[in-house]
Amino acid sequence: MAQTVLHAAASRGGADHGWLKSYHTFSFASYYNPERVNFGALRVLNDDSVAGGRGFGEHPHDNMEIISIPLSGALEHKDSMGNIGTIEPGEIQVMSAGTGIYHTEYNKNKEETVKFLQIWVFPNKRNVEPRYDQVKINAPEKPNTLVQILSPNPDDAGVWIHQDAWFNLGKLEKGSQIDYTFQKKGNGAYIFVLEGDIEVDGQILSTRDGFGIWDTDKFSIKASSAAEFLIMDVPMEF
């Protein structure tokens, strides 16, 4: 029987630094809850808003797969490998920190707030060569389908990471339904609702709710309203 966990939007941790408002699904920075540290290999899911012209100064990472998905505005990245890039909605960015990397992330616009998801996944291989990439997300081929934005395969759609993880964005019209089959045995899925209301395995979810499901091969998502969501299919043991 499937196991599940619900993280209601209002139960997330958070930080308000004025220029940065961040909701943390899992323990991060000064928010610490030992019952919410990770979902399998998924360690961080931050829902960030950064004020115009502001951002994160230079800071280091190592041995983590770091994915940014902009929801509105534009986010500028610079790193110690010499990469400079700006991502906007419809794009996704990945950084394999590996042996160590420094980077900055700033709101490209002076006036408009940038909103984005920052997601960290534990890698399946430590001390890899650091790597940065950003790609445009493919438009869905038809309504009410999923679009893959991340996989472990360099030749597959979206970005790739050092982990057996697959991310899909979904956009459903009210009343429509899709089935999701796990990509790998032993993986679980964490569904994060970007907007709208959906029902997963009998659980009703609203905007910014998170829901994990594992010990099953597949599940269905039904839209109670027009809805957008992200499915993160990750190893539960890694």
Binding site: S30, Y32, F56, P60, A97, G100, N127
Partner: protein
């Protein structure tokens, strides 16, 4: 007088990251962190002092990590050996709280 500080040893081969991690750890009043850049130095430190936490950063080989785990646990069975993922934005404190069994620190917006 008893030392109430949590003593933390950080090992990392990337000098800048090591310094950043040490700076961040030492901003916490109840923690005291020192850093080393290699396996031998870490083992030597652990012979001289009792640490509560060993934080392993990037850049070590698998063999070095296994050696650290076994030799340092022999010297100090109570030590918590955990990995860190850089110092900038977030995991550092949570991984240490988790290792030490710290109570919740719930910030909400």
């Amino acid at each position: 007088m008893m030392n109430s500080l949590t003593e933390i040893l950080v090992i990392g081969t990337h000098p800048d990251i090591l310094q950043t991690v040490l700076r961040l750890l030492n901003t916490q009043e109840s923690w005291h962190a020192e850093g080393v850049s290699g396996c031998e130095e870490a083992i030597a430190k652990c012979r001289l002092q009792t640490y509560q936490v060993l934080l392993i950063g990037g850049g070590l080989t698998d063999m070095e990590e296994v050696r650290l785990q076994t030799e340092i646990k022999l010297l100090n069975p109570a030590i918590h050996i955990i990995q860190h993922y850089g110092g900038g934005s977030g995991l550092l404190y949570a991984e240490i709280y988790l290792a030490l069994g710290t109570e919740h620190k719930k910030n909400r917006l």
